[in-house]
């Protein structure tokens, strides 16, 4: 499990308008590029001073490729990050609040306690 890396993906994509569009249009390609180029980038450091050890599990990679917010929630990705990015990608295809309500309804089978989001 690499909750931190899932959160890092969601965080870095959500804050970049071009990446939001790229992830919406080409999820698999964006996830592959991001894991190769960005996963080990320390955000406050120069490009040469990178980490060496961060990678997704197969399950995490699949959830990101499939835009599967329910699976991401189940893995303990930070729900605020997931929600914010997914609203940015998909709210436009729906009427007012429709997407947000459907997003919650897709998780109605989940009960407390929710997955731990500690990193």
């Amino acid at each position: 499990m690499s909750k931190y890396l899932l959160d890092k993906f969601l965080f870095t994509v959500d804050r970049d308008p071009a990446l939001v569009e790229r992830y919406r249009e080409d999820a698999a390609g964006t996830v592959a590029w991001w894991e190769a180029e960005m996963a080990n980038r320390i955000l406050n450091c120069t490009g040469d001073e990178r980490s060496t050890w961060l990678r997704f599990t197969d399950e995490e990679r699949t959830a990101l490729r499939e835009h599967d917010h329910v699976a991401l929630f189940g893995m303990g990705a930070h729900p605020f990050l997931t929600l914010t990015l997914f609203i940015a990608m998909f709210e436009r295809d729906h009427g007012p609040l429709e997407y947000q309500k459907a997003y919650g309804k897709a998780m109605e089978h989940l009960a407390l306690p929710y997955p731990d989001i500690s990193t």
């Binding site: 804050r15 929630f73 729900p79 309500k101 089978h109 500690s118 990193t119």
Partner: protein, 287 residues
């Protein structure tokens, strides 16, 4: 010496700005009532005639990130730019620049450290809607210098509720020990019950109206001990998965003081979450 002329605790609802500005068919049915409540709330700050605002909020993964996450952070800078691309995108919030009050920030940092709070600091902080929402609602001219204080209610492990209350008490003491003869308002924002990104989000009301009712009673009556007796890091998961933001209300109860009854109490039951507004006048209601 500085005087605390008002203590204000509020929810910070990023939808307010757009709702209040909208017209015609775009204007939601609850907008007029919401604006009226906010204008009454704003008046409670205006009549306190503050010179400086100490603003307590929480970064929502904008500048503060998991590779270097402070628990409590004070902004010390001459200016603070504000609001972020994703807040512009989702809420239509405007970009802003607010002046800072560095001398009070330095006083809070030095004396906070000496009071056993290992406060982090930032000399270049772009603040987010947890602080700009109360600027928009309470001081829309954004004309007063601020000292922003961020708390971590967002990225566990979090400090416990008691620590938030203790920090609030300490902030009050630190402001009142500042030698400058200034009128300071201390404003903090958080949430009542709230769910974000989970199955209970965006319901007809907040996810736990019973928690909201109790929370408003704790805050309005200054029942710090009663609140601390029931609220723990674990218990806050029950009312909604983003309810840890309630700890910023607990911090403000610490600022106001145990047993301090709020001079202004109001709330608004919206879809998704309950709004709540509180003002205390520690040195008497201004005339």
């Amino acid at each position: 010496m500085a005087t605390v002329v008002a203590v204000i605790a509020s929810t910070h609802h990023p939808f307010y700005y757009r709702a209040s500005m909208s017209t015609g068919a775009d204007r939601p049915p609850f907008a007029d009532e919401w604006v009226a409540k906010i204008e009454a709330f704003r008046e409670t700050l205006t009549k306190a005639r503050p010179d400086i605002l100490v603003m307590v909020g929480s970064d929502h993964f904008h500048q503060l990130w998991l590779d270097n996450m402070p628990q409590f952070l004070v902004g010390k800078a001459p200016y603070f730019d504000a609001n972020w691309y994703n807040e512009e995108r989702e809420f239509g919030l405007p970009r802003m620049t607010l002046p800072g009050e560095e001398r009070l920030a330095a006083h809070i940092l030095r004396n906070g450290l000496d009071a056993d709070f290992d406060l982090a600091f930032s000399n270049e902080l772009r603040i987010d809607h947890s602080i700009t929402c109360p600027i928009i609602t309470l001081r829309p001219d954004a004309d007063l210098p601020i000292v922003p204080i961020y708390t971590n209610i967002f990225a566990p492990p979090l400090p416990r509720p008691k620590r938030f209350v203790e920090l609030g008490r300490t902030i009050r003491q630190l402001v009142e020990s500042w030698p400058d003869d200034k009128r300071v308002a201390i404003i903090g924002t958080g949430h009542l019950s709230l769910e974000l990104g989970g199955p209970r989000q965006f319901g007809a009301h907040g996810p736990d109206p019973e928690f909201d009712r109790k929370a408003i009673e704790w805050i309005a009556s200054g029942d710090v001990e009663g609140c601390l007796a029931e609220v723990t890091l674990d218990s806050l998961h029950q009312p909604g998965n983003a309810t840890h933001g309630f700890m910023d209300f607990m911090l403000m109860m610490g600022v106001a003081g145990a047993g301090a009854k709020a001079d202004h109490v109001d709330s608004l039951d919206l879809f998704h979450t309950m709004e709540a507004y509180f003002t205390w006048y520690p040195n008497g209601v201004p005339t």
